[in-house]
């Protein structure tokens, strides 16, 4: 198939049956492989949507420099979109992300500003906010509050899932900005109010040691604006060891090479499947492929070592 721009390759990702991993013979599990996007993650969708919305409403002018906090994937997606469209971009990223993320950002021409790793993404958000306030010439799309983020999933990811799997009973996805869960969750519940929406979080233990008091806590404005507490049916945390175990099982048993957060959502999908009484179909989103995590040793090293590394490095 012939395309006029790499940006035309964003979205319409495949949904693949990973049911051999289902702990319940009556429940199928299907995963949407967002790693098939050209920039390698689900974030390509929101990067394009946010840039085009800002171009349309005039908040982004030709040649203007963007600034954005990201633990990696949104930064990479935005850097790719900005390269094609000719915008310089600065990404504020926690210093303890996997090295592949920095490498990819550099390859796409972004400049990187590191925020303290111990403050996690919360620290990157705060630093980007400060830098954007200090320099009004910067365009700040702010994925955590930008309506184009959940809308990209409401208009893209959600309808694609419904088209490919209208028999879905449960939707399970990772919670970061909440864009995927809010957009897809709302769309699916509008089609069938009985669809259950489950959120999976990483355990925010050692990675946020730098948060000194509760006022450093953060709830994405997108989550509140899209009525996250009403939309979600369940929310659970998945531990690093469990994520790595599932990421290995994905390769070993169904040949799917997925990123570490995909292992976490797969663990969540399996927990959902276990609790379903009768037949069910769980659809989940694998945010990216395994490529950016080769240095984590997730598939090759001793499990204890990988777990220890996963406590210190932000793979979400």
């Amino acid at each position: 198939m012939r395309h006029s721009s790499v940006l035309d390759l964003i979205g319409d990702t495949p949904l693949v049956d990973v049911s051999p991993l289902s702990p319940n013979a009556d429940v199928r599990i299907l995963a949407k492989l967002e790693g098939q996007n050209p920039g390698g993650s689900a974030k390509d969708r929101i990067a394009l949507a946010m840039v085009e919305a800002a171009e349309k409403d005039g908040t982004l002018r030709p040649g203007q420099t963007l600034i954005e906090p990201s633990s990696g994937n949104t930064g990479i997606g935005l850097a790719m979109v900005c390269r094609v469209k000719g915008y310089p971009i600065r990404i504020v990223m926690p210093e303890n992300v996997s090295p592949e993320r920095s490498q990819l950002l550099e390859i796409f021409g972004a400049s990187i500003i590191y925020s303290p790793g111990a403050e996690g993404s919360n620290g990157a958000v705060r630093m980007a906010q400060r830098l954007a306030d200090d320099d009004p010439s910067l365009a700040f799309l702010y994925q955590y509050a930008n309506d184009a983020n959940p809308r990209a999933h409401y208009e893209g990811t959600g309808p694609e899932i419904w088209r490919d799997c209208p028999e879905v009973t449960h939707f399970v996805a990772g919670l970061g900005t909440s864009g995927t869960l809010m957009g897809v969750g709302r769309y699916l519940k509008e089609q069938n109010p009985d669809v259950q929406v489950w959120a999976v979080e990483p355990p925010a233990g050692e990675m946020v040691d730098g948060l000194r008091n509760l006022d450093d806590g953060y709830i994405p404005p997108v989550f509140e604006k899209w009525h996250g507490p009403d939309l979600l049916d369940r929310k659970l945390i998945v531990r690093p060891r469990e994520s790595i175990t599932w990421v290995r099982r994905l390769v070993d048993e169904v040949g799917v090479f997925a990123g570490i957060s995909s292992g976490a959502v797969m663990a969540g999908a399996a927990k959902a499947a276990e609790r379903i009484d009768g037949a069910g179909v769980v659809v989940t989103v694998f945010p990216d492929g395994g490529w950016k995590y080769l240095s984590s040793g997730a598939w090759t090293d001793d499990l204890d070592q990988v777990e220890d590394r996963a406590r210190r490095i932000n793979y979400w």
Binding site: N122, E206, L214, D215, G217, P220, P229, L236
Partner: protein
């Protein structure tokens, strides 16, 4: 019921520096009250004045967020694990 509670880094200075503590109760609310009895400096750290859970505090029973269960009325059983974590972003 006796359960193990994981205390987030930011609250450890108010909990004798401990990462975990044993507490008693049959609901999450009772467990948190027992924790405050043991460590009075934790008073007001989990809940608002009206008794609801603080916006930036997430409490998990066996890794499930109690906001989507029965909130502070969520039942706990012997041997359950309770984790208290600050609300954080990803992305």
């Amino acid at each position: 019921m006796t359960v193990e509670v994981r205390i987030p880094t930011m609250m450890r200075p108010d909990a004798g520096g401990q990462a975990t503590a044993q507490a008693n109760g049959s609901t999450v609310a009772e467990v948190l009250e027992d924790l405050v009895l043991q460590f009075p400096r934790l008073q007001g750290k989990f809940t608002n004045e009206d008794g609801s859970l603080h916006k930036f505090v997430n409490v998990y029973v066996n890794d499930e967020d109690v906001r989507y269960l029965e909130r502070l009325d969520t039942k706990v059983a012997d041997g359950d694990e309770i984790a208290i974590l600050p609300a954080v972003a990803g992305g």
